[in-house]
């Protein structure tokens, strides 16, 4: 299951609308402390966000998917600990 979601997420970076990898990141992070979820976010930003675009005033120039991945990783940790351990 984890591998399937991760594969869909990684392929989705290139082939699917952006919300598919985002959904895969959420699904992965809900159940596992998944490095894949963060990596999907990192590659979304590395591939689709041009270099040198970061400006503090425009939120869309921030690496949103990476931040989203890290937030999911840390944010869902109490939930995972509560229900899965």
């Amino acid at each position: 299951m984890r591998i399937s979601i991760a594969i869909i997420g990684f392929l989705g970076i290139a082939l699917a609308p952006w919300w598919i990898p985002a959904l895969c990141m959420i699904l992965l992070s809900l159940r596992w402390a998944a490095l894949e979820a963060v990596l999907i976010g990192v590659f979304m930003d590395l591939i689709w966000q041009g270099s040198g675009m970061l400006t503090s005033t425009s939120w869309h120039t921030w690496p949103l998917f990476t931040l989203f991945g890290i937030a999911l990783l840390w944010g869902f940790e109490p939930l995972r600990r509560r229900f899965l351990f």
């Binding site: 990192v42 966000q49 040198g52």
Partner: protein, 260 residues
């Protein structure tokens, strides 16, 4: 309690390690001059091109034809007709491609640059960017202007690798561009999806279909007025700009050789 603490510390360490790995990846990419980025973009371009080819082959192979369609074909023993239909469809696709390339050839007569295919779907990117199948090996320069076949400026090259380049759309979400509409200079804000909006003083005569140009792209057209929202109580009208054709329907673009 002890086991809980150990598990808790262990999982925290793992999370910290993952976060550090992400930071290391970004730092490595920056220090290596965007090598990780370039590799990832090339891989994405290859995956997109291969999947588009596979999809096209499957489409014309008839593998996903409906049962009714196949039954009709069987009844009339139309295997040969199907073959000709397939050829005709391929011909139509080539004809469309040829027409677009011909228009681009006209564009190339007036400007120096490169005609290049779009190798990614614009809807994949949340940042209003897309990949093109030409890079530094094809003389594509950073910040070069990208035009549609009818000469509308749609973006600028922001990242260049050997055989691919990343283009940022002029109307990427939240991006600002200074433009001329109805003889007045206004600032359009990108909305994503080839759309932008601006506030124009109500006295300025603007009508649907007017061409909008911008000095930041050497006075080239960047779109047309798609809609004008006007309220008698307001001092400003809202002008919605759009491109005459959707970028997701484009297969080729023209990249100017300079950075004008």
């Amino acid at each position: 309690m002890n086991l809980y603490r150990r598990t808790n510390t262990g999982s925290k360490r793992r999370l910290i390690a993952m976060t550090l790995l992400v930071i290391v990846l970004f730092v490595f990419d920056i220090l290596s001059g965007g090598k990780v980025r370039a590799l990832a973009q090339s891989a994405t371009a290859n995956i997109s091109t291969t999947s588009a080819r596979l999809f096209s082959d499957l489409k014309y192979s008839g593998l996903f034809s409906t049962r009714a369609h196949l039954a009709a074909q069987n009844q009339a023993l139309e295997s040969r007709v199907a073959h000709y239909q397939e050829q005709a469809a391929a011909y139509q696709a080539l004809k469309q491609e040829n027409a677009q390339l011909q228009t681009l050839a006209h564009l190339a007569q007036d400007n120096t640059g490169t005609t290049t295919p779009i190798v990614s779907s614009p809807r994949s990117s949340p940042y209003g960017t897309f990949l093109i199948g030409a890079g530094s090996a094809d003389n594509i320069k950073h910040n070069a202007l990208v035009l549609t076949d009818d000469g509308f400026a749609i973006g600028r090259v922001t990242d260049v690798s050997t055989h691919t380049a990343l283009v940022s759309a002029l109307f990427a979400p939240d991006s600002k561009i200074n433009a001329l509409v109805g003889g007045t200079s206004v600032i359009f804000t990108g909305q994503g999806g080839d759309n932008a909006r601006a506030q124009v003083p109500r006295g300025v005569a603007v009508s649907v279909g007017d061409i909008i140009t911008s000095r930041s792209v050497s006075g080239r057209p960047i779109g047309i007025v798609g809609k004008v929202e006007s309220n008698p109580a307001d001092a400003y009208s809202v002008v919605l700009m759009r491109l005459p054709q959707n970028t997701s329907s484009l297969r080729f673009v023209f990249v100017l050789s300079g950075t004008q």
